[in-house]
Symmetry: C4
Subunit: 274 residues, 4 copies
């Protein structure tokens, strides 16, 4: 059985259980109730997305992607802590928005799952979150020059790309978004944008669906490479970069939102081949 | 049957049918007549070209290539809207130069097929059109520095590489060449050149044959990488870039036109291997 | 039998033999005694590490990795002189810290094994040494700008990355660390750091375990690429690079030390696939 | 039979035939005599070298490698005109130093075989010539900054890397070294060096053996990448590049000359795997 839960574990029932523990105050809190059964194809697609992002060079041995639970917006689905290229549907765990596992079964979640939970809390429009250290994006987190949209495929960047510098609020840290407060601050900096950079760390990309999240994570990396190349040219020859305007970006992104299934099908076929 | 049409559907017969609809003014216009049967090997080569350009990094999940119909210059052949790495001969559609499908059979053409149709209208010498967002070329569409021919394999660029900025004539758009007017303007900017850049979008490469179109698309990308590297060197050490002169370019391109079958055979063998 | 030695060749016994040669002063010195049997899994992992570093682009046809003997700190294990992508457990040799082979059986060690022996002498905390010419790291050995930690995965670099210029002490040489004196000087420059660059040559990365050595060698290369990209951006747009501070680096590296098994498992699986 | 010739076609015999044509002045000149039979393993290694250079990114669909005939210094061996990744031993042709084929059997030689013949004429120490357009080397042919030796593996470059600008002597051309005069001028510019760049075209690398020619062609490309990266760093941060001195280069190259079989075995194994 590939589904998370049988019908009798649906949210209403379990919520009751949570608030009425049988054993009094000394017992450990019960895990949050599952948001309900999830079709196997949804889990398969989330696992495929993890492998796609590895194959496309967005993830290396690190990085993670989640989706909001398809029928319960207070839950999200995300792999246990594992190299993303190795994720299968059986590795997917369910969390509530406070990042507590509904059914851990001995599996450990990623330390930085708070990135996901806190963004889902703040952004009702977001159903997919990708966190990566994709290699051409990190440099933009370190310099003053903003990332801009180099072409229509990366039109979503024309809304502006904020930078989250964890040290501004939290001082010297291990750089990880490892608790609620850090996740919430990242979500605040992300605001209503599709992508935020994280200083000396990586980035987060969000979208209204799994396919959009994957698309944006990949084209943020591609766009970074393009902008570095454009910077080489203007550094040598002078002049400026005629990036997409905000208006062009909005118009072009509306088209992208309709064509994401084309690259998705290609990437998925490639990732499943290995 | 891999051929487009049997003999009784040849152009003359169908044209008559188009201008004499049986059902009066209220009926939808008939599709344009086919330009005639096309050998299976031509379709196979066009599909192989699509996969070659994906394998060589000119196409990613996007991009398209077309050829003019081998016996009817008023028609062209192009894949349905599909990731180019997945194109097979069965995906090839036939269009008239106004980009109407001769026999859609439920298949959708690419939104930007107008790039192809309008260039075929203006350029009788062109029998192949490639549109891509190849990753090292896009930066040249964004900066003032012109793309130049870095070596003899890219000699065709020594004629000059115009830049089509869609916003000059059309204001803020979704950046796509999605109608006749935009395609015609791109064709006008391309003029008699083999390659034009498209600001914040990509490029178009044309040639007298399928093999030349593929050759030029690939070596435009290679040349872009070389020029970015050369720019790094002059940016750091000063000095200028001793690119091909126009005269050298013309002489070298005449040689290239005769050797394109050598790389073609290699690329095709690799692409068919997968 | 995959073990180095049977019990009767254990160190104590052989050491006695070394100091009491049967044949008097004229005989060649006996080889150093083995440090004792080593589990096959340790040899397999060391061979896998060599292939991992080749597959990840840290090694090309050159480069070598060693580990300190698991039960005898006066010995280390390292492949015979061989392209690192081809190393198997059978190629592993044992050396004392003076880089004499315990049992050569006609196999030749690497010319530069002194890098390893001398670092093991000086650094009791080090159990793995990697020497490579990884391609993005070499440039940092040639320029004044220091390598810095671009992100948390490379946090170990925030301690500072010294540069060993062999010509400072040894004048014009063949650049190789081919004897004790050169190895000792490199170890002195490395001091207590995890990585040192070697001018016009490459680098050395060390760690408390095989997995840490591999992790640091790989992320030193990744970090170098990131810093070159960041330099392109600041070169074009101005501004500085907000690298990890020393304090951030120390905090982040403590986390890395605990997660190295995740990338290791991925890399190993990939390397064994070929 | 994989040998070029049976014993009765050995050089002395054939030379007699060449100077005593049976049919008088009106007959076409006889082809030059073969230099004698060549072991199959030599042809196999030359074909493997061609595929190695393609797999290592030195050749794309273009490029060629030759060796001097192992027993007759007035002959050389080189593939017919073919994409180098596809070369097999059966494609190898024999030429005299004037680049006439000893036994064409309908096969066409490369247009630029004069690069090879003229260098063999001038350089008795050279037994292998590689001509390529390897992608990071071309930029150095276009700018004033000289290529220098970034590390010991490329120590052969510390002798200096001359640039052949075909336009200096021949004006505007198709850039190809397609006749004796151009080949001789390139050989003159190369002089006693291991590598010469060819403006807006590529480079030539030579060596005392096949393995050395391959080694130098590959590490010229690697060195070019390193120098471009180093240029990025000095362009952004200032300072200069502490390349190998001439003396360091000479000492280091002497070591390289002894270790080329290690990478050769690796590259060959990989190339034969495909």
């Amino acid at each position: 059985m590939r589904l998370f839960n049988c019908a009798c574990h649906a949210q209403g029932f379990m919520a009751q259980a949570v608030f009425a523990p049988a054993d009094g105050a000394g017992a450990p809190p019960l895990p949050p109730a599952s948001g309900g059964a999830v079709p196997a194809s949804v889990l398969d697609d989330l696992a495929a997305a993890s492998r796609i992002l590895a194959q496309q060079g967005v993830f290396d041995a690190f990085g993670h992607i989640s989706i909001r639970h398809p029928t319960n917006p207070k839950r999200f689905l995300m792999s246990r802590s594992l190299a993303p290229a190795l994720v299968t549907a059986d590795d997917i765990m369910e969390f509530d928005l406070d990042c507590e596992a509904c059914e851990a079964r001995g599996r450990s979640g990623f330390l930085e799952r708070f990135i996901h939970g806190e963004i889902y809390k703040l952004r009702a429009d977001v159903n997919c979150v990708v966190h990566s250290h994709s290699p051409s994006v990190v440099p933009f987190s370190l310099v003053g020059a903003p990332m801009r949209a180099m072409y229509h495929n990366a039109a979503f960047l024309a809304q502006g790309v904020p930078v989250f510098d964890i040290s501004e609020k939290f001082g010297a840290t291990d750089m990880l978004v490892g608790n609620h407060a850090k996740g919430a601050e990242l979500a605040r900096v992300l605001a209503d944008k599709p992508v935020a950079l994280m200083r000396a760390h990586g980035s987060v990309a969000v979208g209204p669906s799994l396919q959009h999240g994957v698309f944006r994570a990949i084209y943020t990396e591609v766009n970074a490479r393009l902008q570095i190349q454009a910077a080489t040219l203007t550094g040598a020859f002078g002049g400026s970069i005629a990036a997409l305007s905000a208006e062009e970006g909005a118009l072009a992104d509306a088209v992208n939102l309709n064509v994401v299934s084309r690259p998705w099908e290609l990437w998925k076929e490639r990732a499943l081949k290995g």
